[in-house]
């Protein structure tokens, strides 16, 4: 997974930021972190906006990553074992956002 580190204060961000909220700098350096994380929390959506209605039910998850970062994303593949603390792996990023699968 790609993260963005402030070149002034070194704070890490995901996704990229217009301005570093810690120091106000606007230059960031991209780097990679481990694709694996754990689920901090999740929900299964049954009532969705129109553009997502054909995907119901779908799982939105909040994943704890390396470097004390977290990201909200979607779970793809089988959801057996979906629980707080479960291990997941990043699979791809598209228009919907960050996708993960349970491992």
């Amino acid at each position: 997974m790609e993260i963005f580190s402030c070149t002034e204060c070194q704070r890490n961000h995901i996704p990229s930021k217009p301005v570093c909220p810690s120091c106000g700098a606007t230059e960031f350096k991209a780097s990679q972190i481990d694709d694996k994380g754990t689920i901090d929390s999740f929900t299964t959506i049954w009532v969705a906006p129109e553009k997502f209605m054909d995907q119901v039910p779908y799982h939105v998850i909040v994943v704890k990553l390396d470097k004390e970062l977290r990201i909200t994303g979607r779970l793809s593949g089988p959801a057996d074992g979906l629980a707080i603390g479960a291990s997941v792996e990043f699979t791809e990023k598209d228009d919907v956002g960050y996708w993960f699968r349970l491992i």
């Binding site: 929390s41 929900t43 959506i45």
Partner: protein, 386 residues
């Protein structure tokens, strides 16, 4: 800077619910006109107008709303300004009215909140509400109920909050709504009703969620030293706070607390010189059952993690240690998003005037808490019987 004391001298509200045939401007005018009449203030004396509204552009294709309402009310050339902070829009309107009077820039200010939602489909409303989420989470298909589902699962995980405790919030608030003629939902529900209602966003079911509503509510604010010229029972605003929190879930410092609420409450308690134990009645932002549990902790009414047990022990019922949402709250009274903050203040003022349909006996100090978006903004106001 010396701030002047500010009081509420008039209140007005439409019913909340399905208001077929009433436009957004119609409803805002009805509530505001009622507040002006209740204050007995000549409309020429009103010096500014703030209107809370969330999504009029998306939901009814109308913008530039505040000047339209002020014009229809015959308020002349006074400044008329819409403020927006999703579900906290009307709390922000009150906050700005308070600032204008407290600083002496105006003596009398009209504030209102209004929203028209039932003419849109569930999918349209869900999409409009989801627009208050950060773009990344919006694109991922996160809904408001989904956000509270995520926080709810985490709260249950960290503190052992139970599915039953969440349901009891809904049962209590629906019960509270029964005597309230403004409430959208006025019948008892059972534990089975909640637990067997359809899933919206796990673990939240339909009866964990507030309904889609139309409605408007309004207050007339006045410098306290002039309030007795108009009102027999002015209610003083002794504390006011507004704060910005995290705009998404993944960067927030906590998934079981809202920083915006904690900070807005701190400001309001400090200004009032009061602590949570001094509050007699609370109207807080129960857009979902889990929201009431989290809010009650963030406002300091209970220790973090104890909001669930507090409901189960009956501490938040009318007659309990700290009655929460005797109006029925958003869950029963309804949640016309941009109107809610003024609707809550309307209910608290009626409590402190001693004229509420579900009166908390001897209530002298009341608190109204409004929360917007995924915890991005909150207002807290503390009111005192004069």
């Amino acid at each position: 800077m010396n701030l002047r004391s500010v009081s509420v001298i008039g209140i007005g509200s439409t019913d909340f619910g399905r208001m077929d045939g009433e436009s957004l401007v119609d409803m805002a005018c009805a509530a505001a006109n009622e507040a002006i009449a209740d204050a007995g203030v000549p409309r020429q004396k009103i010096q500014a107008f703030y209107l809370g509204n969330f999504a009029s552009g998306i939901l009814v294709g109308q913008e530039t709303l505040a000047p339209k309402v002020a014009y229809q009310l015959g308020l002349g050339s006074i400044p008329a300004t819409k403020v927006e902070g999703a579900c906290a829009s009307a709390g922000i309107a009150i906050r700005h009215g308070v600032i204008l009077v407290a600083t002496g820039l105006a003596d009398i200010v009209l504030v209102a909140g209004a929203e028209k939602m039932t003419s849109s489909t569930t999918a349209q409303n869900t999409a409009a509400l989801a627009a208050a989420a950060e773009e990344l989470e919006y694109n991922a298909g996160l809904t408001f109920a989904g956000a509270f589902g995520i926080w709810g699962n985490r709260h249950m995980h960290e503190f052992g909050t139970t599915r039953k405790q969440m349901a009891l919030v809904s049962i209590k608030n629906k019960h509270n709504g029964i005597p309230n003629p403004r409430a959208q939902f006025r019948k008892e529900i059972t534990l089975d009703d909640v637990l067997e209602s359809r899933l919206v966003a796990d673990p939240l079911r339909l009866y964990d969620c507030c309904p889609v509503s139309d409605g408007a509510a309004s207050l007339v604010l006045c410098a306290t030293d002039m309030a007795r010229e108009y009102a027999d029972k002015p209610v003083e605003i002794i504390g006011s706070g507004q704060a910005t929190g995290f705009i998404n879930i993944y960067e927030a410092d906590s998934m079981v607390a809202f920083k915006a609420t904690i900070e807005a409450a701190r400001q309001a308690y400090d200004m009032a010189g009061l602590k949570p134990a001094d509050i007699d009645v609370v109207e807080l932002h129960d857009c979902f059952t889990m929201a009431e549990i989290i809010d009650s902790e963030d406002l300091g009414l209970f220790e973090k993690g104890q909001g669930g047990p507090a409901v189960e022990e009956g501490l938040t019922q009318v007659g309990g240690k700290i009655p929460i949402n005797p109006s029925g709250g958003l869950l029963a009274k309804g949640h016309p998003v941009g109107a809610t903050g003024c609707g809550q203040a309307f209910e608290v003022v009626r409590q402190l005037r001693g004229e509420h349909e579900n009166q908390v006996s001897g209530a002298e100090i009341g608190l109204a808490h409004n929360l917007g978006a995924t915890g991005a903004v909150s207002t807290v106001h503390i009111f005192k019987r004069s």
